[in-house]
Symmetry: C2
DNA sequence: CCTTTTTCTTAAGGTATCTTATTTTTTGCC
DNA sequence: GGCAAAAAATAAGATACCTTAAGAAAAAGG
């Protein structure tokens, strides 16, 4: 997806913040190793994880980057990671791009829409237990690597309740 | 967004079903007048509205259309409507498209992603009351036109609970 | 290896939201 | 304009999930 001129690789340590709420997003990040996440903090101070980005995933705040408005989200590293930084605005200057790149971007966008729509369906239809089981299927790898409280945040429940659910599942 | 060869206008009556769960989506619909909706039915038989498509909106199941797999959603008309049908697969044959069309598609996709992400954030962070108030702001028009039970389905609560919320809000 | 910090578990009580059922109001239709 | 059908309101009891708090286990760091 990336052409050479706009690439820059960068090592980040666990805990490093790559985008803060209030900033305007300039870069997107493609993850080579490790794992990033994006999250929002609600008015009660609670974090809600929007996306995990392990190897090969791309993460950014499109809305902020494209519309030059302060981001509502944070992006940070939950493991030591290596990423490629992409200047989103330049990259989105469609008229400077060749057709192949546009086709590729369309594919990426399309897949993002499909993924995001699935998440909406999942949140509307599934119970917390369903969402946990689905998380395990979707990211069998991540479940071993990251703390449970991050999983809880992603599926939209408290860590305490996830702990309850896990016990109930184990007793089946 | 549409070029002449792939256009077909069509009148649909309130209640007409344009896509059923289990079918493979062939068409997308651009709404000229009236209003369509997409929804899923969960395992308990309850409907959850994913999207309203009043005038100028586009609605389809990208996942089904692109990956040729049975759709999980329904699309029907909640008002008498006039729509343009678009053959999604042909339209998505990127290599037959000119650059301008690709650029336009990228924009549309981008906006869809932004909208879908906002919905996820909204569902993770906001209470039912917040979501109702936000619906009123986002679709001041629709709130007058459609039954409350459809609004309840969209914001992810029961009609009874929406009724409660409205009373509480009125008593403030 | 030991200490500190973080994460996980457990439990009790609370709240938001659901379910079911009944009644009232609104809408659609001949 | 009146009847049937759909939608909305109301209410009581149930449940999923949250809050708080405390202790146990695991991880991190020097």
């Amino acid at each position: 997806m990336l052409n050479a001129k706009k690439r820059k690789t960068r090592k980040v340590s666990k805990g490093d913040v790559l985008l803060s709420s209030g900033d305007i997003a300039i870069y997107g990040y493609q993850v080579l190793s490790g794992c990033l996440r994006s999250y929002v903090i609600d008015r009660n101070g609670k974090e809600h994880i929007l996306q995990f980005a392990p190897e090969d995933w791309l993460i950014t705040d499109l809305d902020s980057a494209m519309n030059k408005k302060p981001s509502a989200i944070f992006i940070d590293a939950i493991e030591d990671s290596e990423v490629i930084s992409v200047r989103v605005a330049e990259f989105m200057n469609f008229h400077s791009l060749d057709k192949n790149t546009l086709v590729e971007m369309n594919l990426k966008f399309r897949n993002s829409i499909i993924a995001s729509n699935k998440r909406v369906i999942n949140m509307l239809c599934a119970t917390a237990e369903d969402r946990y089981l689905e998380f395990l299927e979707t990211y069998p790898d991540l479940a071993q690597r990251i703390p449970q409280k991050l999983i809880a945040s992603y599926i939209g429940i408290t860590p305490e309740y996830l702990s309850d659910l896990r016990r109930k599942l184990a007793n089946k």
